[in-house]
């Protein structure tokens, strides 16, 4: 009998006891009436309206209740197929982010060194005048705009049309460059088209979940709960955690395998070696659907200004691939990665077992990586070798960190080389965009603009003189922060920042524009599984705050682009989205019309004949694919690319002077730079400041206990953090971890701006650091 079971008799006894307690308690004077003063008639009158969550890329559907213009409650939307009514602690408190007392409600302009309130109109006039003046003085390419994966789809679209279609300037970036561009280049090089082939339904079908350098228990909690749910429902489901640090996800997994930093490249090749050595590959799939390719090696780390690496892919053979993999026998990989040969063989047996459906998941661990594109390619290789791709439960799945990193930055294409459909370097793509924008095609610059790190380097060098930052906080999130913060303060630089709260980025601004936030305006986001979600304006924005996209349109109008933006503040979201849909029309990327989105908790693209496509590249599910089997139509040969990519070390590895690895990341309670979540009291109280996680053995050796002060020193600088020993994450010996959300303890002062030369995405996970008791 289990300890909670009781007999009927003892149950009755207990019920009698409960009644007795109840009676006693009711005799306590006043007790029953406490709190009644706060009560009202009923919550039955609450009117719930849908909106996707403001935070991560999972894209949970939420329901928000509004009374008298104020959001009063929020819950998960049971109708959303993403979260089925669940949320995480951030989503369950998302509405509190609107109500920090220090909301920016006025435009601010720096006068005599101080930011002073001005009417919004005056600030917008100044921004337009400065753009004109600086463009005339330093050339049109001295202007840059930096947005984010938190831009709504219409706002990103307006930015793209304004910069590329009106100004002929490609210096338009989104902070997704810092979090998703390796995923993009991974998809593009392997499949010729961006974004996952599968969808969240894969969570209900997979037998094996392999998380690569990923901690979904904290970063994508709702999706992690879907994995746990799948595991509870089926005895054979396994979670395998591959990581450099022990996290909550590791504890919940069936097996936790630790590898040394950057050696996931060798590990993936080791698994591939074993699959081929055992004959577990799917020969038919390889023969019909895969091309083997290789590119340049020893490709550097992007540490030098203006470095512009270009890969030169060439086709090769499966035999050459086998030859290449001879350097990655399980025994050899064990020496590189620290993962035992037995565990490498075990992983290969999971990927190689034809009876098991495998889902690989990753986010920043693989993307913020000096070989981010390569490791994305190498994990796709495992799915291509075994043919476990683009069918239910067989799914290499790149997760995203921002609510519209996919929908806006990647799909609308607010990146230096992109157009809403295609790239600036392709003449056909330029013509397609120019036709829809109704601008002369010559106006679109065929040369890609500067990528994010180069925009900030350009600001330092003087190539960039005007920078408009919207919906992001680069003075917290840029690596090697000191250089780029000082760049903003140099002579003759003009910085405009649109935001909802004061941040370290508004501190360096010449003009601050107050933005309407999330449900204070209408908008659309696109999540990790290609799902587009629409929401209405549910509460009025405070003071002069207006949507970021409308700020851009106001300035565009002042610069004479009224014909390009013939929209009103009330209708621009719908009009911009409708126009954007024209760019993506067709079976491969058709977007759901706004009327359908209003009626549904989001609809994934490709949306063809009123139906979303759940699995792309397979004729059974995807109307764009020909035949009844796989068709990787993103590539000209209709085949996916399997890549020869070697292991190469990180840009900066520990040495005598700086003997530890420094890794940075997030915690469950805080999102991005913390400017919203830290203003939600329940989240701030849970994790009120940053800290440095130490391995208990290192801490003991240094005489450090939990809460002691620890000095971290890298080649970029030195800072002191409180130690976390035996906390929620445990790094390996010789490694430390620091979350980046705390603007008072800015770990990015110490990080390195080394990046993947193909994706230009910085590696925030690896640099060398000295660790001392302070």
């Amino acid at each position: 009998m289990n300890p909670t079971d009781t007999t009927r008799r003892s149950f009755l006894k207990q019920m009698a006891a409960a009644a007795a307690i109840s009676t006693v308690a009711e005799l306590v004077p006043g007790a029953a009436f406490a709190g009644e003063a706060k009560e009202k008639a009923s919550d039955g009158g609450l009117h719930w309206q849908k909106a996707p969550c403001r935070f991560c890329g999972t894209g949970c559907g939420l329901l928000v209740a509004v009374e008298h213009g104020v959001a009063v409650a929020v819950k998960g939307d049971p109708a959303s197929p993403v979260n089925r009514g669940l949320a995480c602690v951030k989503g369950f408190h998302a509405i509190l982010a609107l109500y920090g007392k220090d909301r920016l409600t006025n435009a601010l302009v720096r006068k005599n060194g101080k930011l002073v309130p001005v009417p919004l109109k005056e600030a917008l006039d100044l921004v337009a005048a400065k753009m004109k003046e600086i463009s005339a003085k330093y050339g049109k390419d001295s202007i840059a705009m930096y947005g984010s994966g938190q831009w709504t789809i219409p706002d990103g679209y307006v930015a793209s049309k304004f910069m590329k279609g009106c100004l002929g300037n490609n210096n338009l970036e989104g902070n997704a460059r810092l979090c998703m561009s390796s995923a993009v280049t991974g998809f593009m090089t392997s499949f010729g088209m961006d974004e996952p082939m599968g969808c969240y339904d894969d969570f209900d079908h997979a037998d094996i979940f392999v998380t690569w350098g990923n901690n979904p228990a904290e970063m994508h909690p709702v999706l992690f709960s879907r994995m746990l749910e799948r595991k509870q429902n089926s005895a054979n489901v396994k979670l395998i955690d591959l990581s450099t640090r022990t996290t909550r996800s590791s504890h919940a997994s069936d097996k936790h395998i630790i590898f040394k930093p950057n050696t996931d490249l060798a590990l993936a090749n080791g698994i591939a070696h074993e699959i081929l050595a055992r004959g577990w590959q799917n020969n038919d799939f390889l023969a019909k659907h895969v091309t083997v390719r290789k590119g340049k090696t020893n490709i550097g780390y992007g540490l030098v200004d203006k470095e512009n690496f270009k890969d030169e892919p060439v086709a090769t053979t499966l035999d050459e691939y086998r030859e290449f993999l001879k350097d990655y026998t399980p025994e050899k990989v064990e020496k590189i990665s620290g993962v035992s040969a037995a565990n490498i063989r075990y992983l290969a047996s999971l990927y190689g077992d034809p009876s098991k459906r495998v889902m690989s998941l990753w986010c920043m661990g693989m993307n913020q990586h000096v070989r981010g594109t390569w490791i994305n390619n190498l994990v796709y290789n495992l799915h291509l070798l075994t043919g476990k791709i683009a069918t239910p439960g067989n799914s290499p799945f790149s997760l995203t960190g921002q609510p519209s990193a996919c929908g806006t930055v990647r799909e609308v294409g607010t990146l230096a080389h992109r157009l809403p459909h295609g790239v600036v370097t392709n003449e056909e793509d330029r013509k397609h965009a120019a036709e829809i924008w109704q601008v002369p095609v010559e106006r679109i610059n065929p040369k890609p603009g500067l990528h994010t790190v180069e925009i900030f380097r350009g600001l330092d060098r003087g190539d960039i003189r005007f920078l408009w930052v919207q919906v992001t906080n680069p003075m917290v999130t840029m690596p090697k922060l000191k250089r780029y913060r000082e760049a903003t303060q140099k002579e003759d630089r003009f910085i405009v920042v649109s935001d909802v709260y004061p941040t370290p980025t508004t501190e360096i601004a010449d003009v601050v524009l107050p933005s309407a936030m999330w449900i204070e305006r209408e908008g659309l986001f696109g999540n990790s599984e290609r799902r587009t979600q629409h929401w209405n304006e549910l509460v009025p924005p405070p003071g002069d705050a207006v949507a970021d996209g409308w700020q851009l349109i106001e300035v565009a109008h002042r610069l004479g682009f009224t014909k390009e933006f013939p929209w009103t503040r009330e209708n621009y979201n719908e009009k911009a989205y409708e126009e954007y849909c024209k760019h993506q029309a067709g079976k491969k990327h058709g977007m759901a019309p706004i009327a359908d989105l209003k009626k549904n908790p989001g609809l994934p693209w490709p949306y063809v004949n009123g139906k979303s496509t759940k699995w792309r590249y397979h004729g059974k599910f995807d109307p764009a694919a020909s035949g009844n089997t796989w068709d990787f139509y993103g590539n000209a040969d209709h085949r996916a690319n399997l890549w020869l990519r070697p292991y190469e070390p990180a840009a900066e590895s520990p040495d005598k002077e700086f003997p530890f690895w420094l890794c940075t990341g997030r915690v469950l309670e805080h999102w991005h730079s913390g400017s919203m979540t830290r203003r939600i009291p329940v989240l701030h109280r849970a994790v009120p400041h940053a800290y440095v996680e130490l391995n208990p053995a290192d801490a003991k050796r240094m005489g450090v206990v939990d809460g002691d002060k620890v000095r971290l020193t890298t080649r970029r600088g030195t800072m002191v953090f409180p130690a976390s020993v035996d906390g929620r994450g445990v790094p390996e010996p010789g490694q430390v971890f620091v979350p980046f959300f705390d603007e008072k303890l800015l770990i990015n002062e110490l990080t390195l701006d080394a990046h993947c030369p193909i994706s230009k995405q910085p590696d925030y996970k690896k640099c060398s650091v000295r660790v001392e008791k302070a």
Binding site: A19, S42, G44, C88, V682, R685
Partner: protein, 221 residues
């Protein structure tokens, strides 16, 4: 005579077998609840049935402890608004911090007296969700980062009855709170909302959600 003695023996044996079967059924039912994913999304539609009649007590809790009853104000203090997940009002172990799950359900699955806190633990209405710290976080981290203008909205009134002796309507959303007796029965249930009749298990036979203000539009004509 032998037959007379045999009869009680048979009865006892039958009762023993019945008892065992009851336990097996009960475990199987519990597994079924845990394993049926569709039930989770719609727990609000389960009709208010609850999983364990002995909710709120452990077998070892033989004697009720006095003076530990909670009142509504206490539990409201740990929520940002009605329906928000409550934060954790006590310290958590390093093991819980590391795993995000471990130990929570030891006390909060079925409740019972917790010596360490000198309280009856409130049972969770949704023990099938095991990544507890996904939604419930410690609430002891000191001052605000910046002052918040958030004001907790008024809670719905209790005892929303259509007539004096009528059963009160359910004033809150049932999402993740569809297991009525987790909060409305047992020693940790706040005194103001404790049911007087926990043995009647089909709660929504009499108590219906107050989904509107109760006025049928046409009745105004």
């Amino acid at each position: 005579m032998r037959r007379i003695m045999f009869f009680p023996l048979v009865c006892t044996a039958m009762l023993a077998v019945w008892g065992c079967r009851q336990e097996v059924t009960s475990d199987a039912e519990r597994t079924e609840i845990v394993s049926d994913s569709s039930s989770r999304a719609h727990d609000a539609e389960q009709g208010g049935m609850y999983r364990d009649l002995q909710m709120g007590y452990r077998k070892s809790d033989s004697a009720p402890r006095m003076g530990s009853a909670r009142i509504l104000e206490q539990i409201r203090k740990h929520r940002a608004f009605d329906g928000a997940p409550p934060w954790i009002p006590h310290a958590v172990s390093p093991e819980n911090e590391r795993t995000g799950t471990r130990n929570c359900l030891n006390c909060h699955r079925d409740g019972g007296w917790v010596e360490k806190w000198q309280r009856y633990a409130p049972p969770t209405p949704h023990p099938e969700w095991t990544s507890c710290r996904q939604c419930h976080v410690p609430g002891d981290g000191g001052d605000a980062f910046r002052p918040s203008g958030w004001k907790t909205p008024a809670y719905p009134a209790l005892n929303d009855r259509s007539q004096p002796a009528g059963p009160p309507a359910i004033p809150h959303s049932l999402q993740y709170r569809g297991n009525c007796l987790a909060c409305h029965a047992g020693p940790s249930a706040p005194v103001e909302i404790r049911t007087t009749h926990p043995g009647r298990t089909n709660c929504r036979q009499c108590h219906v959600p107050a989904n509107s203000d109760g006025t049928f539009p046409e009745s105004k004509l």
